[in-house]
């Protein structure tokens, strides 16, 4: 999984059916040392807020397991809000 920080929200009224009702958050990818390296748009399933440091699953098969589906155009899912890194 990857570490990131929620940078903002994405509103998309017209999308592939899979995304209907899903919450899209734009996350900066930030490594433990704090170095940013790009961004991605992920589905949030843990009610993360803008500014939160988060854990992102970025692989299709695991992402689809989260939604218990065997096919769907999803790969990036926010699966945790980070409390601390040591």
């Amino acid at each position: 999984m990857k570490l990131g920080r929620v940078a903002g929200t994405v509103v998309s009224p017209i999308s592939h059916p899979f995304f209907d009702g899903q919450r899209l958050l734009l996350c900066d990818l930030v490594d433990p040392a704090g170095t940013a390296s790009g961004y991605l748009i992920a589905i949030d399933v843990v009610d993360a807020g803008v500014g939160d440091q988060v854990l992102i699953c970025d692989e299709g098969t695991s992402a689809r397991q989260i939604f218990q589906i065997d096919t769907g155009p999803i790969r990036s899912v926010i699966v945790g809000v980070v409390d601390a890194i040591s």
Binding site: V11, L26, P73
Partner: protein, 93 residues
């Protein structure tokens, strides 16, 4: 998934099996501030709704094939949503 801007369409009548009826759009990947980043790609339009100039988000690799109606259409990028609004936290502006 990444942000992209639709720049145009590609028509290819001679193509691999499975690609019939797939609409190809030229998409310029964008950074989170919607500035061009990297080179354009040709993406399948899984929505059949995106037009030139539209802000979209797209998936790549296997998830692109998974976005299509038919099972395993051989595409490596697919548009899966039109973007109405991206709101970044103030400090990210």
């Amino acid at each position: 998934m990444q942000l992209g801007r639709v720049q145009g369409t590609v028509v290819a009548t001679v193509k691999a099996e499975g690609l019939e009826g797939v609409r190809f759009l030229i998409v310029q990947p964008l950074d989170k501030h919607q500035k061009d980043k990297g080179s354009p790609v040709v993406a399948a339009d899984a929505l059949a709704m995106a037009g030139p100039g539209e802000l979209v988000y797209f998936v790549a690799s296997r998830e692109a094939a998974e976005a299509m109606e038919e099972r395993f259409v051989p595409v490596d990028h697919a548009i899966v949503g039109l973007v109405d609004q991206v709101t970044l936290a103030e400090d990210n502006q």
